[in-house]
Symmetry: C2
Subunit: 335 residues, 2 copies
DNA sequence: GTGAAAGCGCTAACAT
DNA sequence: ATGTTAGCGCTTTCAC
């Protein structure tokens, strides 16, 4: 089968330790010997067995990324960014899908599989603050998202409250007064939905507008279909509104679709803003205003922090890192 | 650090082989002993070291999926499906992004990293038929897509020609005559673009309509932006058309956007159909007709075939597997 | 500068 | 039914 160090050593006529030295660029090898070894390596098409190397060295060169599902464009774009950031540092990425289910999330955390990687970037959806004590892994971990803050591990997250507040203020600035919400989670305080609702309320409050629960549509998950459903519900309720804040872009897209089906014009009748700044917001009809939560930065920072933690597990105290956000105005909120 | 078999054996007062027997459900263990060992395992929080197991057993329980990029919704949905299919069989998935660049694709094929997985599902974009000889890996491989057919490995692919032909015929059936194409690749014969163009031409021919290169817009990649650009170009050319066939849904979405900006109504002025049946086609304005290429089936079949090949590398001759497709009519091609 | 030997944690013959 | 032994392919002391 595949050639081993021994085979190479044999062909090159040296001890297999010398071959190892050549491969790992150790200093004490005579140029002539090195050359001979390299020739043997080429001849045999030798490739190091990384599994063996991992066993010996204790690290694998891989990290795990656990997300709800790649079908959700936000996580696809996040995974894309994480893989690129990891690759830039010579790491490969193993992806686990949790469907956002608590049990599956715990399973991933506890799986022996995790040890086949050097660290974990974990974006929980089912686990909550009350589970903080369970959120530990046998490898260094960086937490993403808004579900858990009290953990003892590094945490990279976007500014949900501030971003949502800015989005709402953007709508208010265009003269909108009755802003419907699509994507709230019943009773949630600390997840993305809870925090974005908080930002929404803060913005209203700062302008002296009273919060009206009748304008808020609650959903289960954040797929396009949920946005569509929620908008149907709002329309059925018969409440008046002149703007919609979709808690993410896919919800907003679903809602826009239904609004237009119902004959509402965007933005003249109803302005719409989303959250995430997905690529597709640039091509919908109309283009969708959104909040760029700093996804690239999240990915890059997560990788950086994780690598530091892998190098030095007992390093600095866990950090809480917030990314920059930016409101991107597009057609759906034109004045 | 982490407990090993030896630690468990020590605590349970047995030899470490017995522990191994318990873990691997070997028959010859007395219930009492088994129980004692299991208690020790629980007590120490023992988890097997899969790296060591891999080294010994020769397989890793992971497979590699190499795709251009997850930002392209088609590949995000494909990866999602592959991960689910793999998980159902107890495998995890490592994802490599190639950007569709030939060099990167070759790099992935040759990387020692690949041996940290048991097999490869490879969806090339940069490599072509002329590179077939280079498309070999040190692990079993299943090829996806249309770039390479002559390889000596299992190949799962969609019916591009037939699907494209059916899409075109669908447009013709609604009375359209001048069908523009968005997404062709200059001079390509065998890639998705080449094959879909072939299907388009076949459909025209079967109805006695002459092929007009003036109706074909060529692009570089298949992002939304390319679809938008291509449609701008078609409009600038001033050619008349009453339908558009986007070679994938993202291209079609970009094109629809530009068409509507230009005041063309869909489907009354121009009908539009895409390819891939992405989730987003169900929520755009208007909803986008498309061809479902059997993505779930591709994922499931690829995993199944790969596992068979892993189990038996010298097994049956490489297979060529085609999935079922289906034209999905939505608003964008309503009569 | 190069080689010999030990061992990472596990599985699988082969004893006992 | 349980224990012993020999590696998987590599890195890493430590000698020479």
């Amino acid at each position: 089968m595949a050639a081993t160090l021994h085979d190479v050593a044999h062909v090159a006529g040296v001890s297999f330790k010398t071959v190892s030295n050549v491969i790992n660029d150790h200093p004490n090898v005579r140029p002539a010997t090195r050359e001979r070894v390299q020739k043997a390596i080429a001849e045999l098409g030798y490739r190091p067995n990384l599994t063996a190397r991992s066993l010996r060295s204790g690290h694998t060169g891989a990290i795990t990324l656990a997300v709800p599902q790649l079908r959700l464009p936000y996580f696809a774009e996040l995974a894309d960014a994480v893989i690129r950031a990891a690759e830039a540092r010579g790491l490969v990425v193993l992806i686990e899908q949790t469907s956002g289910e608590r049990d599956r999330e715990l399973e991933v955390l506890k799986s022996p599989r995790l040890r086949m990687s050097d660290g974990l970037i974990f974006s929980p959806l089912g686990l909550g603050e009350e589970d903080a004590a369970l959120v530990t892994a046998e490898v260094p971990m960086v937490l993403l998202g808004e579900r858990i803050f009290s953990g003892g591990c590094d945490h990279v997250t976007m500014q949900n409250v501030e971003g949502a507040r800015a989005a709402t203020e953007h709508l208010l600035d265009t003269g909108r007064q009755r802003i419907a919400v699509v994507g709230a989670h019943e009773g949630e305080v600390i997840g993305s939905a809870g925090l974005r609702l908080k930002g929404y309320r803060e913005a209203l409050e700062s302008r002296g507008i009273e919060y009206d629960d009748g304008l808020v549509a609650y959903v289960g998950t954040w797929h396009r279909a949920n946005g569509a459903e929620a908008m149907h519900e709002l329309l059925d309720r018969g409440v008046e509104f002149d703007a919609v804040f979709g808690f993410n872009d896919t919800l907003a897209q679903g809602a826009m679709r239904v609004l237009q089906e119902a004959g509402r014009r965007i933005p003249s009748d109803v302005a719409v803003i989303g959250f995430d700044d997905l690529d597709e917001t640039r091509y919908s009809i109309p283009t969708l205003s959104s909040v760029n939560p700093g996804r690239e930065e999240i990915a890059k920072t997560a990788i950086k922090v994780l690598m530091e933690r892998i190098k030095n597990p007992a390093g600095p105290a866990p950090r809480e890192i917030l990314t920059q956000f930016e409101v991107i105005a597009r057609e759906s909120t034109a004045a």
